[in-house]
Amino acid sequence: MKCPTYSSWFRERRLDAVCQILRLPAVMLSQIPGIGPVVKAASTTVGQKILMAITGLLLCGFLVTHLAGNLLLYAGAKQFNHYAESLHSWGILLNVAEVGLFTLFMAHIGLACSTHAMNRQARRSQYTQKESKQEPMALPSGGASGWMFVTGVIIAFFLVVHITDMRLKKNPFIDYSPAYQNGPEAGPDEFVAVRLVLTNWTAIAYVIGLLALGIHLSHGFRSALQTLGVNHPRWNRLLEIISLLFAWTITLGFLSLVTWAAMTSGTSN
């Protein structure tokens, strides 16, 4: 006969509570007239996935601009620092963009936690044996779809490292003084700072984070299109290939900068 242990009872209640809390913002927003019905729809499983897809694709857009900017590292210190300065000259606009980006990440991560909790709730007792019926390479992204949450969490950790490293320049393992040779007024030399970060042993976080991103996007990009309703038998194969190319172009693009920094370390320009 069923004798739920205290811990299993607690675990189930905790999952319910997590789901309730994560739904709160949507439930509150749904009281607003006009957009109320839309928000209500957005809080269902389908609605949450659509929001995930939108935030995910917007983040992909950010990655494209971020990589394009960073590839200027190859053009040399002058060009890269010029790019960094022109970004900084946006002033308050840059801060607005940063807040927007932060919001996108928070929304995406919040929805990830919410859908993940709902999915856990949907199967409380697990199979003792579970096998796939798909051909091993039915999707060009392989088994990436089963790793979305795990790779997402790795990316989130990487983001914390990345912002401490590059934006705040507070990595305790790095001596940033070479980047501050232009006097206290001039601000840091971004080119030098980037190379300091990427040649430090902590750059291993970049390799791990970027590989996780590659896996995340190799399923995520195509998945987002499907969630937004893009599916046509004539185009599906092409879309899958484009998604895979996108994912690994972004990943290898960033990774190449890590390798470049490591290989050219010691030389200065």
Partner: protein, 253 residues
């Protein structure tokens, strides 16, 4: 094909009722003809159990020809067993080898509570259908068959969706226990036809709301459902459901 009979070890989930915790039990079944269907094999096991005054194993079945969607077994970790486009009742014992251990579990999803042994309660699907999976028509004389022209390709899409037998294998196979393939088939078969368009907005909103209320998970687009589906429903319909839903959410009055 060999006519050699099989000696099997069956590892079967036994559960007295919804409140029971349940556990696996092993049964030895010898001399199984390879020409039997999987369900016939279970019938033989039950004869053996009854003869030794044990409780027979409860399992669901009805048509035994792949059309009713009642049979529902997780066989060696796969919904309806190892074959594609096959229900448990269409699976033959020749797919197994002499000496095999076969593990048999019920569908596992919060929305499909176990009733007893291998039988689960799938009435959640009925409630999803009741919340919009229909068209309202006038009674009286049947309308002229070709009064509304519908392109052949459109009919094909609707027919492909209508092939869903509602067995629940999509939910069983999905890592999120999501019912999206089922719901999308039921939305699609009507959304693509003029007769179904009239109620399309309320239909998709109602069915998704009910799907959530029953406690099914969300869709990660893993496509495991498509591979497990005995009626070969395509995830193309899930994309259509998403489109229908976005449209309805933005334009419902």
């Amino acid at each position: 094909m060999s006519d050699e009979h099989l000696n099997l070890t069956l590892r079967i989930w036994r559960q007295d009722g919804p409140e029971d915790r349940g556990a696996f039990r092993n049964y030895q079944l010898d001399n199984v003809s390879p020409h039997m269907s999987f369900l016939e094999m279970l019938d033989v096991l039950n004869e053996q159990l009854i003869a030794s005054s044990e409780e027979p194993v409860e399992f669901d079945h009805d048509c035994r020809e792949g059309i009713c969607g009642m049979c529902s077994l997780m066989i060696n970790g796969q919904a309806h067993g190892p074959d594609r486009a096959t229900t448990t009742c269409q699976l033959h014992m020749r797919r197994f080898n002499n000496g095999d251990t076969i593990s048999i579990e019920p569908w596992r999803a919060t929305a499909f509570p176990v009733v007893r042994d291998l039988v689960v309660d799938r009435s959640a699907f009925d409630r999803v259908i009741g919340s919009g999976g229909y068209v309202s028509v006038n009674t009286g004389n049947a309308p002229d068959g070709n009064a509304i022209p519908i392109p052949g390709t459109t009919q094909e899409v609707a027919m492909d969706a209508a092939a869903c037998i509602g067995c629940g294998a999509c939910v069983a196979a999905c890592k999120n226990a999501s019912a999206m393939l089922f719901v999308s088939a039921k939305v699609s078969q009507m959304a693509v036809l003029p007769q179904g368009r009239t109620e399309r907005t309320e239909r998709v909103l109602g069915m998704v709301a009910q799907m959530d209320k029953e406690g099914f998970g969300s869709c990660t687009n893993t496509s495991e459902c498509e591979a497990a589906c005995p009626a070969e429903i395509s995830v193309e319909h899930i994309a259509r459901l998403n489109r229908e839903y976005a449209r309805a959410a933005l334009t419902a009055r």
